[in-house]
């Protein structure tokens, strides 16, 4: 199809404001008479909140309110399950918010936050997902799952027995990936206020304004029509702005005090108030014939979901579906697990489970190629998906599978460079 505007290098409308520093991010907007709110976060990875003493904080001039779990009408939010408290009575990770201080200035709010005394009953912890999977370990979400195994996805295709019988070369290896932060440049910030209609207006940077509206409305017992979420400029997201961070807390403070409320995370607070990329332990066994055809693959993938479910089910599903790489393998057995621990919760991040498995399946390809004595390019060309190929889930790829064209384009760049001192 011949197009003129589509396919052209149109300059982004937002480019000018960003280059000239005129773009308004949520931290840049303010309202007269606004309060500043600061969250008190748990220093413990697993604990019950026994009591919260706000007296010393409320004594300070300029402190307007201290809110905790008892002040939240419906104290839960979450993308798949509402398993995450707005303000926790039961803490599952370091950094869980337990109370929020509202004050006339940010300095007063931060000082007052230090004077809120929270008494915790510390509970047993588990940080290793494989340990956490054991049936005798205290489950972190008994109302969701009887053990800490949040999700198991099996993929079964073909016959493993036949597959291994055909394999001339087998590579077996374990791969591990780490917790990663989205490291977006703009820490979370929110401005919440009640407007002249009596509607709650929340200005923030999010990946999904309509989801945020739903969670705010649910937590406060409002209709969608009474809550407006307006997205200001977003300074990077990468999945880290999918779950709720400060939006509900700021809205709650505005609703309770009838004052505009501004919140802005420090970088350290930001690290604790959004999800992380799932660390995964991936045990791979891949077999090929001596002419480089993949015939069998077995994988066990364990992902650390951390304290809350967030998108873990979908992430570990995506890891499983993509675990073979873009290659035809007729005999496949994959088991992928998402497991609760007391680590920071993990969720969406660019690549979403398919980013971890690349390390494993592409390392396996190079190791197989070396063992067989063909080039890394050659082993890939012999196995890549084409139109009509069937994936490990039995899906037939019916159109637009141009990996062969991609490899053709990159081939001239695969020449080995020289050494230098």
């Amino acid at each position: 199809m011949k197009t003129s505007v589509v396919g052209s290098r149109v300059t982004r409308e937002d480019a000018w404001g960003k280059v000239f520093g005129q773009t308004k991010f949520p931290a840049d907007v303010n309202l007269p008479g606004q309060l500043y709110a600061v969250v008190i976060r748990s220093p413990h990875p697993h604990a019950k909140v026994l009591s919260i003493n706000c007296d010393y904080a409320l004594e300070m001039a300029g402190v307007v309110a201290v809110l905790s779990a008892k002040d939240v009408p419906h104290n839960a939010h979450g993308v798949l399950f509402r398993d995450q408290p707005v303000l926790a009575e039961y803490v599952r990770m370091v950094g869980d918010p337990v109370a929020v201080v509202g004050a006339e200035t940010e300095e007063i709010a931060r000082e007052a936050a230090k004077r809120v005394q929270v008494e915790y009953q510390v509970l047993p912890t588990v940080f290793d997902p494989e340990e956490a999977m054991k049936p005798d370990v205290l489950p972190l979400h008994p109302s969701l799952r009887p053990t800490n195994v949040l999700y198991h996805m099996p993929i079964r295709r073909g016959s493993m027995e036949e597959g291994w019988a055909k394999a001339d070369v087998v590579i077996e290896k374990e791969y591990n990936t780490q917790h990663v932060d989205h490291a977006f440049l703009q820490p979370e910030a929110v401005l919440a206020h009640l407007d002249e209609r009596g509607h709650l207006v929340v200005q923030t940077a999010t990946q999904y304004a309509h989801y945020d509206r739903g969670e705010i409305a649910h937590a406060l017992g409002l209709r969608f029509s009474q809550v407006q979420v307006k997205t200001l400029a977003v300074g990077g997201a990468f999945g880290g702005r999918e779950d709720i961070s400060l939006q509900v807390i700021a809205a709650l403070m505005a609703w309770k005090t009838l004052r505009p409320v501004k919140m802005e995370n420090t970088r350290e607070e930001s690290f604790y108030s959004h999800s992380k990329r799932h660390p995964m332990r991936m045990q791979y066994k891949t077999g090929a014939t001596k002419d480089g055809k993949l015939v069998a693959m077995e994988a066990k993938i364990v992902g650390d979901s951390g304290a809350y479910a967030s998108w873990s089910i979908n992430v570990l599903r995506k890891a499983a579906v993509h675990a073979t790489g873009p290659y035809v393998i007729p005999n496949v057995s994959i088991d992928s697990y998402a497991v609760f621990t007391n680590n920071p919760f993990t969720g969406a991040m660019r690549g979403f489970g398919a980013a971890q498995t690349v390390l494993a399946y592409e390392s396996q390809m190079d190791l197989l190629a070396k063992e067989i004595g063909i080039s890394p390019l050659e082993i890939r060309l012999r196995n890549i998906f084409k139109v009509g190929s069937t994936t490990a889930t039995g899906q037939v790829l019916t159109s637009s599978v141009p990996l062969d064209q991609c490899l053709a384009k990159i081939t001239p760049y695969l020449q080995r460079g020289g050494e230098s001192e």
Binding site: E13, Q178, G351, E362
Partner: protein, 335 residues
């Protein structure tokens, strides 16, 4: 000694929410009396440039320029729900919703124009360069603004609301069999690295990235996504790691949690392959997430090519490289 190596990584990515999860985007379009247009959509532009893509789609359909289109997004009081800016879905999914919406408004505009030009079918009408008129007869055309303004006087307006839902089904929970995502996006990258065998430091010298985008709706933004993805992939492969002690983050600061700086970013050569996806807007598929996927594999494979050690745990820090080199040398000495 500094040793160089080249590595290759391939990847694939099923775009959209997947597994039968409702993946719906919506858009409202209004064609104004002066021949410009507005599109309203919930899809948040998180910096990747979706608003520009939607402006281009509307402009293309109406024979206008991108700057003639106002895109307003991400405000729940004004825009319809278009799902999350995630899952590499906004160009594809909301792009489809915007395309359906503009085509709906356009179809009533064409019907109206056909009557005005005594053309028995709207197939004979075209929108081009801000004009609307008879296909093949450049003498019979009027500015779009004139026609839309005249139409208002007769009580006709060209506004629309449309939704688009991506194709996806749940897999069998016992066997994992099914068609969970559509479409899939493919790509490959090569990395050339230099490994310092004394310090274990890996320097990425060059990355070549080739990605399947169906159709590049805006090549500059494709290159931007690739540059960002490669940079994030370098951080993932070599630098970034949240250090935890009993669930407490030991490095919650950019002085200790290291992300790539300008000095860590190599020369990146970005290419794309256009093999139209029939279900995508103008054949397009998303690129947001795929752009970062192959980088880690290309770098880890390049390290092996350079110094003969296989790093299986990322990030490939200097400590891990030196340890692997020492183990390798130890093995060599034993023989």
């Amino acid at each position: 000694m500094k040793k160089r190596g080249i590595g290759l990584g391939c990847s694939w990515y099923g775009t959209g929410y997947g597994n039968g999860f409702p993946d719906v985007s919506s858009a409202f379009v209004e064609i104004h009396d002066d021949g410009s247009a507005t599109v309203l959509t919930g899809a948040v532009d998180v910096g990747q440039g979706s608003n520009s893509i939607f402006a281009q789609i509307v402009a293309e359909e109406l024979g206008l320029e991108a700057q003639d289109i106002c895109v307003y997004s991400g405000d729940t009081d004004a825009t319809p729900d278009s799902g999350t800016t995630a899952a590499t879905r906004q160009t594809y999914n909301t792009g489809n919703a915007v395309l359906k919406a503009v085509r709906q408004a356009k179809s009533s505009l064409l019907v109206y124009a056909a009557r005005e030009f005594s053309c028995p079918t709207s197939e004979g009408i075209e929108l081009k360069e801000g004009y609307i008129g008879v296909k093949g007869d450049p003498s019979r055309r009027v500015p779009l603004a004139d026609l839309v303004f005249q139409a208002r006087l007769r009580g006709e307006r060209f506004i629309s609301a449309e939704s688009s839902t991506a194709r996806s089904t749940p897999v069998d929970p016992e066997t994992g069999q099914g068609a969970p995502y559509w479409p899939y996006s493919f790509g490959c990258q090569s990395a050339e690295v230099e490994v310092d065998t004394e310090t274990g430091v890996v320097q990425v010298l060059k990355v070549v990235a080739v990605h399947d985008v169906g159709k590049a709706l805006n090549p500059t933004q494709v290159e931007g996504q690739i540059a960002g993805g490669v940079t994030q992939g370098i951080g993932y492969a070599l630098l970034e790691e949240l250090e935890l002690n009993e669930g407490k983050i030991k490095n919650p600061a950019f002085s200790s949690y290291l992300i790539p700086t300008a000095l860590d970013v190599p020369n990146i050569e970005a290419f794309f392959v256009e093999d139209a996806e029939s279900t995508g807007p103008f054949g397009a598929k998303g690129l947001g997430e795929p752009a970062m996927l192959p980088t880690v594999a290309a770098i880890i494979n390049a390290i092996d090519d350079a110094v003969g050690v296989r790093i299986t745990s990322i990030p490939a820090t200097p400590e891990k490289i030196l340890k692997a080199l020492a183990e390798k040398n130890g093995e060599v000495k034993k023989h």
